[in-house]
């Protein structure tokens, strides 16, 4: 073995695959979600090994952190509705019939075949092969930022990024639409200690989130990671009941969701003219504009993710109406 890190790589890879299998096979759903969270964190670690700290941060914060919170909240809701709170169940909704061994083997064989086919194709491709490396290197100086990933996200492929924020917007609209009038499972009664913890950590998280955002132009970090960390603030606030959404906040929330998208798209349009096309920031203002966009997009992402966690639109639902609506 030439590189001792390869042992780490192999261990990590083995753990990732084992966790993936375990996530789907472990009986208790709560355990499955926890295993999934561990899997996400280990994947993030692997991605750090692959020199992708931005991606690792995003995965840890959004793909694992916020997603994990969402999954657990949902599981809580399902168990509350089913009256199985505090039990270990293999199902959230419908009772699961035991799976015969033959099906399991068939699944394994199917999974193996897919892996095999894709692996052959993967080995066929040139590793470390062609890419955008040279193009990015050439274009970075004109992009207004120094960090490659941020340059790609907010300049070279800013269109994708705008649409990504649009996806987030679509999600929150859809969730509000789906959950209107949904009566909520009461959140667990968290003690004073939790509230103290929240009070203590919240300012620090805000600082970290802002730092990640600010740092994004030159080092790993940026709007999405920062936004996710700030969303954690929102989630903590919601869980600790330090903040309770009220119907009056609805309009503000709507503005909060569209703020980032609106400014992003607006800037993209405003810079046009004089031979410049959409999204073509004038080089002398590029950094300012990108920072402006990133800042506001961060706010929107944070608000949106927190809203996705909270779920239903904060409306005053009278008990009778809720019943009828459902």
């Amino acid at each position: 073995m030439t590189d001792p890190f390869l042992i780490l790589d192999l261990l990590l890879a083995g753990a990732v695959i084992a966790l993936a299998v375990a996530t789907l096979t472990v009986r208790d759903l709560f355990a499955a979600i926890v295993l999934f969270i561990v899997l996400g964190l280990l994947s993030a670690l692997a991605w750090v090994r692959l020199s992708a700290p931005d991606v690792a941060l995003a995965e840890a914060a959004i793909g694992t952190g916020v997603t994990g919170a969402l999954l657990l909240k949902t599981l809580h809701h399902l168990r509350y509705v089913a009256g199985t709170l505090g039990e270990q169940t293999a199902h959230g909704v419908t009772p699961v019939t035991p799976v015969p061994m033959s099906v399991i083997w068939a699944n394994a064989a199917f999974c193996g075949l897919i892996t095999l086919g894709l692996a052959i194709a993967f080995l066929d491709a040139p590793l470390g092969g062609p890419g955008f490396d040279a193009l990015v290197a050439d274009a970075i100086p004109a992009s207004g930022v120094d960090h490659g990933v941020t340059a790609v996200l907010l300049n070279f492929r800013s269109y994708d990024t705008l649409m990504e924020v649009v996806v987030l917007l679509a999600a929150v609209i859809a969730v509000w639409q789906i959950e209107r009038g949904l009566s909520e499972a009461p959140s667990p009664d968290l003690s004073v200690i939790w509230q103290g913890f929240a009070r203590l950590t919240l300012p620090a998280i805000v600082v970290v989130g802002t730092y990640l955002l600010w740092k994004g132009s030159e080092a790993p970090g940026g709007a999405f990671q920062g936004g996710a960390v700030l969303a954690a603030v929102g989630i903590l606030l919601l869980l600790s009941r330090l903040y309770v959404p009220r119907p009056a906040h609805r309009a503000l929330a709507r503005w909060g969701f569209v703020l980032g998208t609106g400014v992003f798209a607006g800037v993209a349009l405003l810079v046009t003219g004089g031979g410049r096309v959409t999204f073509e920031y004038p080089p002398e203002h590029a950094k300012t504009l990108i920072l402006l966009i990133e800042g506001l997009v961060t706010v929107s992402i944070a608000v949106t993710l927190a809203a996705l966690f909270h779920g239903r639109e904060p409306v005053a639902v009278r008990a009778k109406e809720a019943r009828h609506d459902a």
């Binding site: 993936a20 419908t94 470390g128 890419g131 490396d133 990015v136 679509a170 969730v175 996705l308």
Partner: protein, 96 residues
């Protein structure tokens, strides 16, 4: 043997596991988990594809794509979970 090879195959395996789970899972929540595995596998593949033998820096474009993919995936997950919650409530009401 290089890290990209190891993690590339890992990613493919995770994707395949997720795919199998998505097709076979009986429980709604478990299916979401399976789909998350697929997305993780795809993330692995792109991160691996961006990797270059050090000291060369990796290609930032796939990294940006994976970040986008992660955000897209959480949006989709949130919607799916909202559907599951709502549906469960409706079905529970019917049972009453």
């Amino acid at each position: 043997m290089t890290p990209d090879l190891i993690y590339g195959l890992t990613g493919i395996a995770v994707f395949a596991i997720g795919l199998t789970g998505a097709l076979c899972a009986q429980d709604r929540l478990r299916r979401v988990l399976a789909l998350k595995l697929c997305s993780l596998g795809a993330g692995f593949l792109l991160v691996v594809a961006a990797w270059r033998e050090p000291p060369a820096a990796p290609d930032p474009v796939p990294h940006a794509l994976v970040i986008t993919g992660i955000v897209v995936m959480i949006s989709a997950t949130a919607v799916a979970l909202a559907l599951i919650r709502r549906l469960q409530s409706l079905e529970a009401e019917d049972d009453d």
